[in-house]
């Protein structure tokens, strides 16, 4: 590739975008390794003391564990709900399933604060308030659009000729599922799970409005600390978030065809 002005301009533009997106993260990561209590950037002296403080603090550890539990369960529920719906659409073109998927997708399109209010009113009316499962079920429904669309992409990639061949050879639905559908869908299911997991662990407003006073997740605890003033351990919590998010998606790119998952259908050579 020659370094024409056009190429330089393009690379420069993309570099600026990357810098913009990376800048706040670089600041937080470097401040977390700073030895002083004062928030100063660039850091003056390297130290791991805030990491030690974070991992030996009962409150932070409890929040981290709570967030991981909620995210794991929410991802499980939302994938478990999306899978039969998308399968019914793909296999039977069921109108009811399409309707359910439509409602699930629509929820993803309403402003976050409205969804949070709706769900907090709902739990208030049921009288079942301040519980961990409220957050799990609320996250699972709001994020349902993600597994719905990712699993739909997955089902579309299944080679219809292969399924057809299986049926003409007398295969039953269960055989076709085991031989063709399951292996093809495993990476997509995994990706949907990871995606919901990561978004749930980062979600603040719904968790706060549904059960925030009693179920303190990691984002809620960071925000509560922010209001009380700066504390270097918050940066450590932030770094943990980033590390989890980026490694989850890096892992996803190893398991699945990421460009295709994000909606590219045109073949892409290496």
């Amino acid at each position: 590739m020659s370094l024409s002005p056009g190429v330089l301009l393009r690379q420069g533009f993309l570099a600026l975008i990357a810098l913009f997106l990376a800048a706040p993260l670089i600041v937080v990561v470097s401040v977390s390794f700073n030895a002083t209590r004062r928030m100063s950037f660039p850091p003056t002296e390297f130290s791991l003391r805030w990491y030690r403080a974070f991992f030996s603090d009962y409150g932070w550890m409890a929040s981290l564990e709570r967030s991981l539990t909620i995210a794991g369960l929410a991802a499980l529920v939302s994938v478990a709900v999306a899978l039969p719906i998308t399968y019914a659409i793909w296999r039977y073109q069921a109108k009811v399933a399409a309707l359910l998927a439509g409602i699930g997708g629509a929820l993803f399109l309403i402003p976050g604060v409205v969804a949070a209010l709706m769900l907090s009113a709902f739990w208030g009316v049921t009288g079942h308030v301040g519980r961990l499962e409220n957050v799990v079920l609320s996250h699972a429904i709001v994020l349902l659009g993600i597994p719905l669309s990712l699993l739909m992409v997955g089902f579309r990639t299944i080679d219809q000729a292969q399924v057809e061949a299986a049926y003409t050879m007398g295969a039953r639905d269960s055989d076709a599922f085991r031989m063709v559908v399951r292996p093809a869908m495993t990476p997509y299911i995994l990706c949907a799970f990871v995606f919901v997991f990561v978004l749930s662990i980062n979600e603040y407003l719904i968790a706060y409005m549904v059960a925030g006073f009693t179920v303190q997740t990691l984002p809620i605890k960071i925000f509560a600390n922010m209001r009380q003033g700066y504390e270097p351990t918050m940066c450590v919590a932030a770094v943990i978030f980033m590390a989890m998010g980026f490694s989850a998606f890096a892992l996803m790119s190893k398991v699945a065809d990421l460009p295709r998952l994000m909606g590219r259908t045109r073949p892409l050579e290496d």
């Binding site: 907090s120 049926y167 460009p259």
Partner: protein
């Protein structure tokens, strides 16, 4: 087409008549109930709540009154909605004009570079708003580098802070939304046939005019939907204006939250929320009409 044929054939071969209905019932009952209870019921509940009668101490009783909606017919509410929309449109303008070329360049990269960008974008889009707002607070604080650099250059008075103010809110919103908008444009741009661009190039069009004359017109509907996406997100944004803005920069989300959690007036919060959703639906219809009209013109 193939899928339809296949299903007809499959139901002939593998499924007895009537069996399909039982299979579907088995598949869809539990997910259907879950969606009904967790999505449809809360939506109706919110509408009912907005018409309910407010009692003391954060309580309410079912009713059918327009008290809360009447409270919305004030200049204050119009100002809040107007500000939220203005913020959203400013954010949309910046996001779309950055995201379109960025997504276009990314879709033309080699696979490895594309995957790296996708991981980076997905990673940053999933970061908690709490975390981003906190990072911006650190970045913009009086003792931060940015303020220091600006003070040295003389653009900022010593000791002055870069937030809370409108630019800080807008920058943080753009930060939060940019990965979303790039990823939103990604599928459509990656579907564009490279041959179309090559054809334009052989006919003597420069890369820039190919982009503006061939690529952009094809993306009209997508661009409008992208703007809508930014508007929806901005109306729902809570932490960014709260932490990085002053009360005049508070969006509708903060007022909804304050009514619900602070003042304990759930009916008012619900009336706000219902109005926001109605506004979104109106915008959605508008973008549909606009993109259809533009498509028929093209």
């Amino acid at each position: 087409m193939r899928a339809a044929e296949l299903s007809v054939q499959a139901s002939g071969v593998a499924t007895a008549p009537g069996r399909e209905r039982w299979v579907l019932a088995g598949l869809l009952t539990a997910p259907g109930l879950y969606i009904l209870i967790m999505a449809v019921v809360p939506a109706f509940l919110m509408v009912q709540l907005s018409l309910a009668h407010r009692e003391v101490a954060g309580l309410w009783s079912p009713g059918f009154e327009l008290t809360q909606y009447r409270q919305l017919a004030t200049p204050l509410f119009a100002r809040i909605m107007g500000f939220s929309l203005m913020l959203a449109l400013a954010g949309a303008l910046i996001c779309v004009s950055l995201a379109l070329p960025a997504a276009y360049f990314i879709t033309r990269m080699r696979r490895r570079a594309q995957v790296a960008w996708l991981v980076f974008l997905l990673g940053s889009l999933s970061l908690s708003e709490v975390l981003i707002v906190f990072a911006f607070q650190v970045l913009l604080s009086t003792s931060g580098t940015l303020a220091g650099a600006l003070t040295t250059v003389g653009l900022l008075a010593p000791g002055a802070s870069l937030y809370p103010n409108f630019p800080a809110v807008l920058t943080c919103l753009v930060y939060l939304l940019l990965p979303y908008v790039i990823l939103f444009f990604y599928p459509a741009l990656s579907q564009l046939d490279p041959e179309v661009e090559q054809a334009a190039a052989t006919m003597g069009a420069s890369r820039l005019s190919t982009f503006t004359r061939v690529v952009l017109p094809m993306m009209r509907g997508q661009i409008l939907t992208g703007v809508l996406l930014v508007v929806i997100f901005t109306f729902g944004a809570y932490l960014t204006p709260l932490v990085l803005g002053r009360p005049p920069q508070w969006t509708i989300a903060i007022h909804i939250n304050n009514a619900a959690m602070g003042a304990g007036n759930l009916p008012l919060a619900a009336a706000y929320a219902v109005s926001v959703v109605a506004f979104m639906v109106a915008l959605l219809v508008l973008t549909r009409v606009l993109s259809r009209r533009k498509a028929s013109e093209a």
